[in-house]
């Protein structure tokens, strides 16, 4: 089915955009990981959100989420793997599901991490950002999962279930991780290999593997959508939150600082209204 607006990101910017678009009677799909994975969920006290001094990040996120749900937004939980703008519509893949929309709002937040040594050169040669997409190619082989997102343990379990020999690398062993999967601490991680991945080095250990799945909670915008104008990791937008790609808008932390909730909420609204205008304009043509 084709939605009016696809929204990537389930944080304040994405949810604000969802509510605003629903207010204009548009069908909305919010795609993204569980809100518990948002850095905001860890904020114990927020004093600068207008009207709600002392609120916790979790409380705010729950309210935002509930508002969007009540407004009639639909949700697709999971990792958005790729986006494409083509032939007048936009398409997004969440896991192995493909969704289509007339407009797209990017609100993935910021990637607070630099790439690991070897990651960029070996992308597509053993380095992958999506276990459901590429996992089958590593059946019967060794795969390392670098877990930096809330859903990483589940993806690691999935890889094991299809026959990969999995090693999980992270800050601490997650509860949801299958007991049979060994855990190794992430420290000074490097990906090794010349034309293809041969191993991962971390915490003084070398783990031989054919594939490395790096699972962050936000995928860098240029990795998601080649062609999108990004400068130093910041998605470039005009004051209407339009990017350089037709039908694609952006809001929140991904468009730059200040990295604050109120800014994200405002930009989400603006992006949605611009997107609605764009869709209405095209419908008249």
């Amino acid at each position: 089915m084709t939605y009016d607006i696809l929204i990537l990101g389930r944080g304040p910017a994405g949810l604000s955009a969802a509510v605003a678009a629903r207010g204009r009677g548009k069908s909305v799909l919010v795609m993204g990981g569980p809100w518990q994975g948002s850095p905001l969920a860890k904020a114990e006290r927020i004093d600068n959100y207008l009207g709600l001094p002392g609120v916790t990040g979790q409380e705010l996120l729950e309210q935002f989420d509930r508002h969007a749900r009540q407004a009639g937004a639909e949700f697709a939980q999971g990792r958005v793997v790729s986006l494409m703008s083509w032939d007048g519509s936009v398409m997004a893949t969440v896991g192995s599901q493909v969704y289509q929309g007339r407009g797209l709002i990017l609100a993935p937040g910021v990637v607070r991490q630099n790439k690991y040594p070897g990651e960029e050169t070996l992308l597509g040669r053993g380095v992958s950002y999506c276990a459901t997409c590429d996992g089958m190619l590593y059946r019967g082989k060794a795969a390392a999962v670098v877990g930096r997102s809330a859903d990483a343990p589940e993806e690691a379990n999935y890889l094991r279930s299809i026959g990969c020999t999995v090693t999980y690398i992270g800050d601490k062993r997650p509860e949801k991780l299958d007991g049979e999967i060994p855990f190794v601490r992430e420290k000074q991680l490097k990906i090794k290999g010349e034309s293809a991945v041969t191993a991962v080095e971390t915490d003084g250990q070398t783990i031989p593997c054919a594939g490395v799945f790096i699972l962050r909670s936000a995928v860098a915008p240029t990795d998601l959508m080649p062609g999108l104008r990004v400068e130093k990791g910041v998605v470039q937008v005009d004051r209407n939150m339009a990017t350089n790609l037709a039908g694609v808008f952006a809001a929140g932390d991904c468009t730059g600082g200040p990295l604050q909730i109120a800014k994200a909420v405002g930009e989400g609204l603006t992006a949605a209204l611009t997107a609605c205008q764009y869709i209405d304009g095209k419908a008249k043509q």
Binding site: V81, S82, L83, M84, S85, W86, D87, M91, T93, V94, G95, S96, Q97, V98, L123, G124, R125, G126, S128, T132, C133, D134, M136, L137, S195, A196, A210, G211, P226, G227
Partner: protein, 102 residues
């Protein structure tokens, strides 16, 4: 749109024409997204041999070309690989390669 088996692929390769081959699988969402783009390019460039290889059915071909992430689109000319694009790309990325080598 040709669906290559190993033999069909090797035969087409030996003819040396410009080829664009989409390595895909049924369980790969992004591959399905790219499908219509490849088909459109197939129609737009009748002199280019455009085909798909299902990596589950043709494991040997996938291994031969080191396909480790899908979708992967590999371009061939004179029987040799000249370029490849890994992951979903806007159509322009493929058009660029086709225009430069046709």
């Amino acid at each position: 749109m040709l669906h290559f088996t190993k033999d069909g692929f090797d035969k087409a390769l030996s003819q040396g024409k410009l080829m664009m081959v989409d390595f895909w699988a049924s369980w790969c969402g992004p591959c399905r997204m790219l499908g219509p783009v490849i088909e459109q390019l197939d129609n737009r460039y009748p002199d280019v041999v455009v085909g798909k290889v299902n990596v589950d059915d043709e494991k040997e071909l996938a291994m031969r070309y080191g396909v480790m992430s899908i979708p992967t689109v590999i371009f061939f000319k004179d029987g040799k690989e000249i370029d490849r694009k890994v992951g979903v790309m806007p159509p322009e990325a493929f058009v660029q390669v086709l225009e430069a080598n046709k």
